[in-house]
């Protein structure tokens, strides 16, 4: 297709909703408050977006198979508690990180196995895991936060290269790997086929079960990575529910142009979606929008960002 023809294609615009929305948002906020694009503010936005980016990538894998991972935020909480317990038990930072990822990955795999073998709706299984994982986190931590003071974690959450904090760079690396996996490996193609037409994929000999288990494990493991960054960021492992991460992770994916019906997807889109959502809250705070007006503004901007791409055509 020629470039001109591609530009006319509505599907293209749908995929780039987040980019268009993000650019528009940046222009408006910068016009209203010049601090918005100051290096310091950009740096703190990128760091604030890191965890959401990682969760949105995990969610993208699941959504591309026409599933949804409602447990992603509470599995992250559980991962954080696993981290906290092993760290305070004196097992060292490395082991604690491994354990966080492993615990969250196992929770994801359990989701996948029940969905694939039990043939139960993704929504119900991950809703069950949402509840079970937050229960486990409360039980393990006895309901109390554990303060974690570690120089390496502190550097991780505050240092970086120029305006790019380490945590943002980690998220970026995850995004690059995820992109390669989705578009340049057999697994990625099989994943999209499973999401788009499970029966056709099965008829071609693709084990849709294995794919389901794999994507939920990936989503779980990424939630574990998110847990480490969360602990580094707030300096504590808490059993508190991180509910806002759940809806935001799905919103980032959908704003990124990925259909909830599966079979299509990008990684750039959800990453931009996560940046959009983070920039939105940052900008509204910078502008001093009164607290009760913030949810209203967020709602309107999210819909506008999605709507905008329609009028481009």
């Amino acid at each position: 297709m020629s470039i001109a023809a591609r530009l006319k294609d509505p599907a293209l615009w749908a995929e780039w909703a987040a980019l268009v929305g993000l650019i528009a948002l940046v222009i408006v906020f910068q016009a209203l408050n010049p601090t918005f694009l100051s290096p310091g503010n950009i740096a703190s936005m990128l760091v604030a977006a890191a965890i959401l980016i990682i969760l949105a990538i995990g969610q993208t894998f699941v959504i591309a198979t026409a599933g949804i991972d409602l447990s992603i935020a509470s599995v992250m909480t559980m991962g954080a508690v696993a981290f906290g317990l092993s760290y305070t038990a004196g097992w060292g930072l490395g082991t604690a990180c491994l354990l966080a990822v492993a615990a969250a990955g196992v929770a994801g795999a359990v989701n996948g196995v029940i969905i694939a073998w039990g043939k139960i709706a993704d929504f119900i299984v991950t809703l069950g895991m949402l509840s079970a994982a937050s229960g486990l986190a409360l039980i393990l931590a006895d309901g109390k936060p554990v303060t974690i003071v570690d120089p390496v974690l502190l550097r991780l959450s505050t240092g970086g290269l120029g305006i790019f904090g380490w945590t943002f760079l980690i998220a970026l690396a995850v995004a690059v790997i995820a992109h390669v996996v989705l578009f340049h490996t057999r697994f990625g193609t099989h994943l999209l086929a499973t999401g788009g037409a499970p029966e056709s994929a099965a008829a071609m000999g693709i084990s849709t079960r294995r794919i389901k288990i794999a994507v939920y494990s990936i989503s779980g493991a990424l939630a574990g990575l998110g847990a480490i960054l969360l602990v580094a960021r707030v300096g504590a492992a808490e059993p508190a529910s991180n509910t806002s991460f759940l809806l935001n992770s799905v919103a980032a994916v959908v704003l990124g142009g990925v259909s909830l019906f599966g079979g299509r997807g990008t990684i750039v889109g959800p990453v931009l979606g996560a940046l959009l959502l983070t920039a939105l809250v940052n900008g509204l705070t910078l502008l001093g929008v009164a607290q009760f007006y913030q949810p209203l503004a967020v709602g309107i901007v999210v819909v506008l960002a999605a709507l905008m791409t329609r009028f481009q055509k």
Partner: protein, 253 residues
Amino acid sequence: MNAPTDEDVLLDCRDVSLTFGSVRALVDVSITARRGEITALVGDNGAGKSTLVRCVSGIHRPDGGRILFDGEGTAFHSPEDARDAGIETVHQNLALVEDLTVWQNLFLNREIVRRFGPVALLDRRAMQARAREMVSALAVNVPEVRSRVRRLSGGQRQAVAICRATGFSSKLVIMDEPTAALGVQETARVEELIVRLRDEGHAVLLISHNFAQVMRLSQQVWVMRAGRRVGGRRTAETSGEEIVGLITGAIEN
């Protein structure tokens, strides 16, 4: 052509049965397909032809009976097993993934990869080039291989599905009404292709409602009616009228 011997039998279905709820889709169906032959399977709508094909290609598991492939009893647990054993199928519903491109569909689960140490990355270029060749051999209005299947016309889709099933060397190629949506030129090309497959020694199982085609191409015809196999004839020894009689039940076997 030599007289067929038992050693030529590649696919041997024995008393295959399958019931969906209260629908007896297959009742003790026995058919064979030989190497180097085109075997036709005919019958009215809803006779059970596609269901039998789905049993052979591992999508359904029969309630009863056995399926022997290449002399061995098989228990395909999945289409993957069947494909690995050397059975490629053009399904009636085509089994394409609408949101993937033509080349991705052609190479689905047969992707060409390049290894870099432990990682294997897709060789998109190679697959696209090969896909272009494959499609242009069959289709007249050749679709761009990088366009999504969702965009293709009915016949273009069918051409893609046929390319996929015949593009990879396999022992048995099953085609469930492969030319139903095809135009004259495409139909001619597909028929050539089927003959070529036979001449190369593959077995072809062809389902078709087009009798002229069946009489023109096949060596053996099996007739199904309401879930049962009601007859089998060497094509050379029968006529279109006899087959129609078997299908409608006017002639009892």
